[in-house]
Structure formats: structure tokens, C-alpha cells
């Protein structure tokens, strides 16, 4: 048989760049999206005026902090495919580092302290990520668990980290940026938003860019990744470092903006699992999922309490309720893993697509 060579067309730079996943959408929808985004952002900014202190300081602030930590965990586990159960340790490092900088270099701007916390956490993350160059799979839990327990011990043990306060509990300084006072619940919320929003944007850029692709390549097939020129070791360490940076900043927010205090045991293994659950429920490898997961984790217990109150009145013993709460939560996690491993993010995406198809048809 004779074979004709398929003609190879050179890229023609005069023609506009080909439409791709990001640009594929009709410009009309792009407009809608931007409008939506703008509206959403506006709404986010004025939220403190719409909801009361309870929602702000007991729901939204922790939600923001946890979402950030979720993104961090997602980089390591969801994107780079490395099992980590030490996120709380890196949050802890972030919180204490931020606090210590503020304490020992008095008058350090708040945002600088938080950033310093993040960087310290990144260093710790890279350090405890090193074994990932050699160890694979579940055995890697050794590394992150070591981090988990060591950090907890270190901060409990070495008084210097907690400013030698007799109790070993650190209390946040009064919050303010420049001269703007942020000590009100609204202020705490704005501070969190100010930190989380840009970091989220950056997270999207990383996840969708070269670095994100390298991470996913390592996750999906490490050998092939190496063959196409991904520096796999570098990619893993970067994932640990960046992931821990996000966790560190989240820890700082947790300590400063949410609780206003933090003790080493506040970042124990349960917290690490909580972060892990956020990623699972929200969706592995999805930034938006980190927010959904965090929202779920924060709201679910509250919602259940409210429900119980509403349905059963006072008759139910809170202890029992809490246990039921635990059971249902565990069940939901299993159900999600079985039915929709891509998590809430995917569920919502599907719903959104259905809705769009429906509207198109009806239109």
C-alpha cells in the first residue's frame, strides 16, 4: 500500500489563537461570567452589612480560613497525588510563626506577619515533603504524621514560641491594617477576605498553568511525567511547599482573625483529618471544591443542630445529637466517596450543566 503524508500546516500567527478550554466559551457567556463575578465580589465585600455577627464570626471567617487550608491540602493530595495528613501541623507553624514575628519584632504589619507564617510553613512543608522523593503511597503518612506530632510537641514544649506565657496559649494582637481598625467581626471578615481572595486567584493560576499540569502528571503517571521532561522530584517538593504555605496562612487567619488565640493542641490530628475531609467532600483537584468542602464542614453540624431543634424540640440530648451528627457525617463521607469521588464541586457542575441545557431548550 502507498501512504500519503498528511500535510503539516505551520502555525499561522496572523490568525487568532485557537479557542481552547478557557476561551472556548461564547463571548456572551464571558460577559455574563464577568458580571456574575463582579456581582459576587461586590456581594462578598458588603456581606458584613447584610448578615449578623454570628454568621460573620462563627461561620464565614472560619469558612474562609478552612477553605485556604483546603486549597493547600488539595495542592498536595488532589493535584500532586501525595497523601498528607499533616496539614494542621503546617497551619500551626504558620500561626505560631506569624505570632512570634509580631511578638519579637514589635509593630510588624499584620499582613507581613501572616505572610511570614506562610513562608515558615512552606519551609517546614518542603522539609517533611523530602521523603516523598523516595517513599510512595501510604508509607508517606509516616512523614506527615511525624510533622503532625513533632510540631505539636515543639510548640507545647518550647515556651519561647508562645512568648513564654505561663499558659503556653498565645493571644492575637489587636487587628488593624495601616490605621484601619479591624477588631470588629466585620473587620475580621474583611481581613480574611483580603487574604483569601488573591491567594485563591493565584491558586487558580497555578492549578491551570504549567505547575498544576506538572503536579497532575506526577499524580497520574510518574514515569511518563519524567519522560516528557517534568522534574518530578521538584514538582513534589513544590507541591508540599506551596500547599504548606497556604495552610500556614490559613493557620495565621485561624489564630488571628477567628479564635484570637491558639494553643498547640488546637492544631491536632483531628484538624488534619478535617482538612482532608474538606478536600474529599469538596472534590480532589478542585479549587472551588475546597470552598464547598469547607462550607460543608462548617455548616453541616450547625445545620444538623438547628434541624434537630426544629424537628424534635428540646427532647433530644445534645450528647446523643452530637454522636448522631458524627454517624451521619461519616456516612456522608463514605457515600460521597462511593457515588461521586469528584465531590460536591462535580455535583454542582453537573447540576449547572443540566440547568443550562434545560434553559437552552426552553429558550
Amino acid at each position: 500500500m502507498r501512504i500519503e503524508a498528511t500535510p503539516w500546516s505551520e502555525p499561522n500567527t496572523s490568525t487568532p489563537p485557537p479557542r481552547t478550554s478557557l476561551f472556548a466559551r461564547a463571548s456572551g457567556r464571558a460577559v455574563v461570567r464577568i458580571a456574575l463575578a463582579a456581582g459576587g465580589t461586590g456581594l462578598l465585600l458588603v456581606l458584613p452589612l447584610l448578615v449578623d455577627d454570628y454568621v460573620l464570626s462563627a461561620v464565614l471567617v472560619p469558612l474562609l480560613a478552612l477553605s485556604l487550608a483546603g486549597i493547600g491540602q488539595n495542592f498536595v493530595t488532589g493535584y500532586a497525588g501525595q497523601l498528607s495528613v499533616g496539614s494542621a501541623a503546617f497551619m500551626s507553624v504558620g500561626a505560631f510563626a506569624a505570632y512570634d514575628l509580631h511578638l519579637h519584632l514589635h509593630g510588624t504589619p499584620l499582613l507581613v506577619s501572616l505572610a511570614f507564617g506562610g513562608v515558615s510553613a512552606a519551609a517546614a512543608g518542603a522539609l517533611f515533603g523530602l521523603p516523598s522523593l523516595r517513599i510512595r503511597g501510604f508509607y508517606l503518612v509516616a512523614s506527615t504524621l511525624a510533622a503532625q506530632f513533632f510540631v505539636e510537641w515543639l510548640f507545647t514544649k518550647v515556651g519561647w514560641f508562645s512568648g513564654n506565657s505561663a499558659s503556653g496559649v498565645i493571644t492575637a494582637p489587636p487587628l488593624s491594617i495601616a490605621t484601619v481598625d479591624l477588631s470588629s467581626p466585620g473587620g475580621h471578615y474583611w481581613l480574611s477576605l483580603l487574604v483569601v481572595a488573591p491567594l485563591t486567584a493565584a491558586a487558580y493560576n497555578l492549578a491551570r498553568g504549567r505547575i498544576g499540569r506538572a503536579w497532575m502528571a506526577v499524580r497520574d503517571m510518574e514515569t511518563a511525567a519524567a519522560v516528557v521532561g517534568v522534574r518530578t522530584g521538584q514538582a513534589k517538593l513544590l507541591a508540599f511547599a506551596i500547599g504548606s504555605f497556604y495552610c500556614g496562612v490559613a493557620g495565621g487567619l485561624w489564630a488571628f482573625a477567628y479564635l484570637g488565640t491558639v494553643e498547640p493542641h488546637g492544631f491536632d490530628l483531628d484538624r488534619s483529618f478535617q482538612i482532608l475531609f474538606i478536600v474529599i467532600v469538596g472534590g480532589l483537584g478542585s479549587i472551588a471544591g475546597s470552598f464547598l468542602g469547607a462550607a460543608f464542614i462548617v455548616l453541616f453540624p450547625i445545620f444538623l443542630d438547628q434541624l434537630a431543634t426544629f424537628v424534635m424540640g428540646g427532647s433530644v440530648d445534645p450528647g446523643v445529637l452530637q454522636n448522631i451528627d458524627k454517624i451521619i457525617f461519616g456516612g456522608l463521607v463514605i457515600a460521597l466517596l462511593a457515588k461521586q469521588p469528584a465531590g460536591l464541586a462535580r455535583l454542582i457542575e453537573i447540576a449547572w450543566l443540566r440547568a443550562r441545557r434545560w434553559t437552552l431548550r426552553s429558550a
Binding site: M1, R2, I3, E4, A5, T6, P7, W8, S9, E10, P11, T13, P17, P18, T20, S21, A24, A202, N205, L206, G209, R210, I211, R213, A214, M216, A217, R219, D220, M221, T223, A224, A225, A226, V227, V228, G229, V230, R231, L238, G285
Partner: protein, 255 residues
């Protein structure tokens, strides 16, 4: 004769005692299409894996453009791309992302440029998209750009993998049974793509293939392996005439 692009010198490879490659040497000239053939277990894939640094030979050297190849890490940067016998795509990622990874190693944008989408980062992304688009159009997979690879049919996946290998415009392409399990039509297309790449880019192609018809049509240079030893090495006609080869492939050349 011109200096060989790829120069395999006395390579031997053993898996716990059993000799998979036994003192094999051959040269591949720049710009030729070279086929590695031989019965199953002849050591073809092993040879390809040694060349691409996935296996380290117990003895012998592999020179590319006169310099030793050391390890898989530098493969792409030296201008070598390859595909695998049983597709090695990133199943969780979209076609575009997979193809993009083919050129990513060229990226220069710093971490912060990427995080903030400033400076070189957006330019590189755009360039990557253009290059990817060209190859995807060429291989008729552009329409699947945003599909997740894991869910695509086999034939398409083969093409995506080829696209990922072609997009950096490599100097040498290592293809491990690119047409395994394909229909005649698919094979024809595939050959078309290969020749296209080869003619336009002067890409040197080293491929493993069982369909001797295809091999003889496609390649300028055929190397026959058998039980880890080199049986024959030469032009298709020369190899076709070689008694040892005929011995190995009883009557396979009737057609």
C-alpha cells in the same frame, strides 16, 4: 557516511540473570525512519526503554548526537520523545493538558510570573496553546480538546499520545507499537501522521511494529532482533532477502 543521530554501542541488559539484550549495537542516521522488528520477547521494547533511560543497561553505551544519554530526566530536553506500548497518558487530565505537557519543559516563566499570570507566563501559555492546536488539528483530535483522556476510546488515546510526543517537534521519536490493535484505516491515518511529521520536521523515527507490511512501506532502515541478539540490520530489501530473517519469520514475506 554521516555521523549517526543515535548510536547504540554493545548494549546488554539482564533481568535477574535472564539476558534480555545481548551485546546489541546499531546506528540510526539523522532523518531516517528506522524500524525495530522481531518476534515477541526479542527485546525490542527493552531496547527502547534502555534508549529512553527507563532501564539502565548492564553494559554498553547509548550516544545521541555523539553524547551519552544519562537518565530519563533529560530525554525531552535532548529532543527525544516517545510513546508507550500500552498507552502512558495522564488519564485524569484533558487532551489539551496532556498535549501541553509535551512542550511544558521549555517553560521559563518564574513561579511568581505563573502565580500572577504576568510576564512570560501568559505568553508561554498562548504559545503552548498554538503549538498544541496545530498538532491536535493535524491528528484530528482538536474537537476532543477538553475531554478527559481516561474516557476516550483506545484509538483516540493512541493519537493523543502521539500528539504529546510530536508537539515539542523532537529530533527523534521513539514509538513502541504505535499501531497496535488498529484497523487498516486507522493504521493508514497513523502512517500518514508519522510521514507528515517526518517529512515536514525531518524528525528521525525509531519504531517497533509487528505489521511487516507497514514496516516495509514506512521505513528506510530495518533492524531485526531475536532473543536479545541483533539478527539483521539494513534496508528493507536487504533485510527481506536475509536468510536468517526468513528463518526467523517462516514465509512471513509471502505477501
Amino acid at each position: 557516511m554521516t555521523t549517526a543521530l543515535l548510536d547504540v554501542q554493545n548494549v546488554s541488559l539482564a533481568f535477574d540473570g535472564i539476558l534480555a539484550l545481548d551485546d546489541v549495537s546499531f546506528r540510526v542516521a539523522r532523518g531516517e525512519v528506522c524500524a525495530l522488528i522481531g518476534p515477541n520477547g526479542a527485546g525490542k521494547s527493552s531496547m527502547l526503554n534502555v534508549v529512553s533511560g527507563l532501564y539502565t543497561a548492564n553494559a554498553g553505551d547509548v550516544l545521541f548526537e555523539g553524547e551519552r544519554l544519562t537518565g530519563v530526566g533529560e530525554l525531552a530536553r535532548r529532543g527525544i520523545a516517545r510513546t508507550f506500548q500500552n498507552i502512558a497518558l495522564f488519564r485524569g487530565m484533558t487532551v489539551l493538558e496532556n498535549v501541553a505537557l509535551g512542550t511544558d519543559f521549555r517553560g521559563r516563566a518564574s513561579f511568581f510570573e505563573q502565580a500572577l499570570r504576568i510576564g512570560r507566563a501568559p505568553r508561554e501559555e498562548r504559545r503552548m496553546r498554538e503549538e498544541a492546536a496545530v498538532v491536535m488539528d493535524l491528528l484530528d483530535i482538536a474537537s476532543h480538546r477538553t475531554d478527559v483522556v481516561g474516557r476516550l476510546p483506545y484509538g483516540l488515546q493512541k493519537r493523543v499520545e502521539l500528539a504529546r510526543a510530536l508537539v515539542p517537534r523532537p529530533k527523534m521519536l521513539l514509538l513502541d507499537e504505535p499501531m497496535a490493535g488498529m484497523t487498516v484505516h486507522e493504521k493508514r491515518d497513523m502512517c500518514g501522521y508519522l510521514l507528515g511529521a517526518h517529512e515536514k520536521l525531518g524528525t528521525t523515527v525509531v519504531l517497533i511494529e509487528h505489521d511487516l507490511g507497514v514496516v516495509m512501506d514506512l521505513s528506510d532502515h530495518v533492524i531485526v532482533l531475536d532473543y536479545g541478539k541483533k539478527l539483521a540490520d539494513g534496508t528493507p530489501d536487504h533485510v527481506r532477502a536475509d536468510p536468517a530473517v526468513i528463518e526467523a519469520y517462516v514465509g512471513s514475506f509471502a505477501t
